[in-house]
């Protein structure tokens, strides 16, 4: 028999916290009105069910850990560096795309993806990044008329 499953224990605690926050928000809204159920009615029920299910998962993680799948969460630190780079790059696009414009941000994004994650040569990465950026711009803005941000520099 395996001992406590730490990953699922943490997951269950996080889910319990989510249930707590949703429950607290639901209680602060009207639960029932003269017309019928209020805005907090269904969220309160859902929070209660999520709390019960999370307790079930917590019980399973502590007392029945061998029924849960094994997870290699920290198998390869490099893999998590790659995943982190993609997530940071996506967040950077989200924050700066309207200020700097579609083309500069996408070119930078593609360059990072090819050069850092793909480990291609810098020149090749830059050429691919520029080509892809203009291809996307042409396809989406030129052909499909999708509005894309130009940014402060009109790019």
């Amino acid at each position: 028999m395996r001992h406590m499953h730490p990953t699922y224990t943490i997951t269950a605690i996080v889910l319990l916290l989510v249930a707590g926050v949703v429950g607290q928000q639901a209680v602060s809204m009207r639960f029932y009105t003269v017309l019928g159920p209020g805005a907090g009615f269904f969220p309160a029920i859902l929070a209660a069910i999520l709390a019960l299910l999370s307790l079930g998962l917590l019980y399973q993680a502590i007392f029945k850990a061998d029924t849960l799948p094994e997870i290699g969460f920290v198998a390869d630190p490099l893999a998590y560096a790659r995943i982190g780079t993609v997530l940071v790059a996506l967040m950077a696009i989200a924050v700066f795309i309207e200020d700097l414009g579609f083309r500069p941000m996408m070119a930078l994004f593609f360059f990072v993806m090819f050069a850092v994650l793909g480990r291609h040569r810098l020149l090749l990465s830059a050429a691919l990044a520029l080509m892809l950026t203009f291809a996307y711009h042409f396809f989406f803005k030129g052909l499909l008329n999708v509005p894309l941000p130009s940014g402060a520099f009109g790019l």
């Binding site: 009207r30 892809l132 008329n145």
Partner: protein, 506 residues
């Protein structure tokens, strides 16, 4: 019947207009291309390509969506046969025999028979869909809020019990999805709910960025754990089908089509059990069952037709009741809603021209796939040889433009990153993703049904037991939830009553 036929003909009139045909070709091409990319199944592929249709007029968008839907399914078959890497469980059975055929130098034959089986399964069941949908719709029009609430509960329970590896984790995902669906403005009282002061959340959590994040970005992040995964050289022989191949495949295709459609109608079943049941049936009926696993063409023809037939069967509850039968169909429903089409019983009355255009587009999509795929197979293979390090930035580019272009919102771009991470963690923890998509769409309908039912009964919950259809649906839901628990308890009791031999004690 003649009225249906004339409506279908007018649907064909719309779908076959030159500009729509161009969109259908583009949809099939892009769907196949993205559907066959490593690790991206049909759900992720449709999610990534969805935003392309946002800028189109509704008819063109419907035509392209139907084409993308079929293209993605076939793209999955290509990688299953050539590289033994199916993107979904539906194509996994095809991979068993198809890849063995490919190893014997008969990849062309396997892909050709898969294309024909998909075409037959697809076209026959679209016909069935067109015939059954209208009578079922009139039945559904008699449903009130309690019946709809109970039906949604039953559908979600079926999705959890039949489609998840763990009922507990499936239920957690379902409730989490329902909570996400509650974010926004309360529809009755107009109060902000679970928005935490964020203006961007007043309209709710945007559906498309969530599915792009969960399915598209989440899948890419999982693949980045080992980006060196690359495909071997695949040799595609001539696309020749012998008379013997045709003789053996025809009955398997017929059986797969019927079986697939019947299984596909049941919410939560989807393409995986359909393909599996078809494979098992072919093996049982075969005179040489021992040769299954060595490249039997029946094992490709049956599951492929069942796979496509089930994909169409899953559209029946969507078109008639407004309830998606699978994750892929839920994404398609979101796409239709994005284009102003609300699937459900009223759709045949209020938007009949668009419904029949959708049905006609399915026929057109199937024909185009057959025409497009057979000669293009060598080209697909050459695309698959491109290393993943070149492919994934291109896919990510699509997700970025897609998420941004829907509402020109930076917030939505942030959402794809957040839900990409959530999708990745859920995959690692073996939490099913499909219930989130289903509940994001069904959540508001479910809450509306519950609240209106309680308004009707003035707060009396027994309204759900007093109406026979509602009571029936809810009883079935409880039975489906309890069945696996009961069988688990029975197994445990049986084990406890069996005397333990001395050798087993340690």
């Amino acid at each position: 019947m003649s009225e249906n036929l004339s409506l279908l003909l007018s649907g064909f009139g719309n779908a076959l207009r030159l500009e729509n045909l161009v969109f259908a070709f583009a949809g099939c091409f892009l769907g196949t291309l993205v559907g066959m990319l490593p690790g991206l199944g049909p759900s992720a592929a449709i999610a990534i390509l969805l935003p392309i249709t946002a800028a189109m007029d509704p008819t063109a968008a419907i035509v392209m969506l139907a084409a993308i839907y079929y293209g993605c399914q076939y793209g999955d078959t290509i990688t299953a046969v050539l590289f033994n890497t199916p993107g979904t469980g539906g194509a996994a059975m095809t991979a068993v025999e198809g890849h063995m055929m490919a190893k014997q130098g008969r990849a062309g034959t396997a892909l050709a028979i898969a294309a024909i089986a998909s075409f037959v399964g697809g076209t026959v069941t679209v016909g069935l869909l067109a015939m059954i949908a209208l009578p079922l719709t009139s039945l559904a029009l008699n449903f009130g809020p309690p019946e709809f609430f109970a039906l949604i509960v039953l559908s979600l329970v079926l999705v959890v019990t039949l489609g998840s590896s763990s009922i507990l984790r499936g239920l957690i995902t379902t409730v989490f999805g329902l909570i996400l669906a509650m974010v926004g403005t309360d529809p009755v009282m107009g109060l902000p709910r679970l928005t935490f002061g964020q203006m961007h959340l007043l309209d709710g959590v945007a559906f498309i960025p969530v599915i792009i994040g969960l399915f598209g970005v989440g899948e890419i992040l999982k693949n980045l754990e080992d980006p060196t995964n690359s495909f071997r050289e695949a040799v595609v022989s001539k696309l020749r089908i012998t008379r013997d191949d045709a003789r053996r495949s025809a009955p398997a295709i017929a059986r797969g089509t019927v079986l697939g459609f019947l299984i596909g109608i049941i919410p939560g079943m989807g393409t995986i059990p359909a393909a599996f049941m078809s494979y098992v049936t072919e093996k049982r009926l075969s005179r040489t069952p021992e040769r299954f696993g060595t490249g039997m063409i029946e094992g490709v023809a049956g599951p492929e037709s069942a796979n496509n037939a089930a994909a169409n069967g899953a559209l029946l509850p969507l078109l008639t009741l407004g309830i998606p039968g699978s994750g892929v169909v839920a994404i398609l429903m979101g796409a239709l809603m994005m284009n102003g089409i609300v699937p459900g019983p009223l759709m045949f009355e209020e938007q009949s021209d668009l419904v029949w255009t959708l049905i006609a587009s399915m026929y057109v999509g199937n024909v185009i796939l057959l025409v497009l795929n057979l000669p293009f197979i060598p080209m697909w293979v050459s695309i698959l040889r491109i290393p993943y390090s070149f492919l994934f930035p291109v896919i990510l580019g699509f997700t970025i433009v897609g998420a941004y272009s829907l509402a020109n919102s930076q917030f939505d771009l942030g959402l794809i990153a957040v839900f990409g991470l959530i999708g990745y963690i859920m995959r690692k923890l073996d939490f099913p993703l499909v219930p989130i998509i289903m509940t994001l769409i069904l959540g508001p309908m479910m809450e509306g049904g519950l609240r209106r039912s309680l308004e009707m009964s003035q707060g009396d919950f027994t309204i759900f037991l007093q109406r026979p259809i509602t009571a029936g649906f809810l009883t079935l839901a409880v039975v489906f939830l309890l069945l696996p628990l009961m069988s688990g308890v029975r197994r445990r009791l049986k084990r406890a009553s069996t005397p333990v031999s001395p050798g087993e004690t340690d």
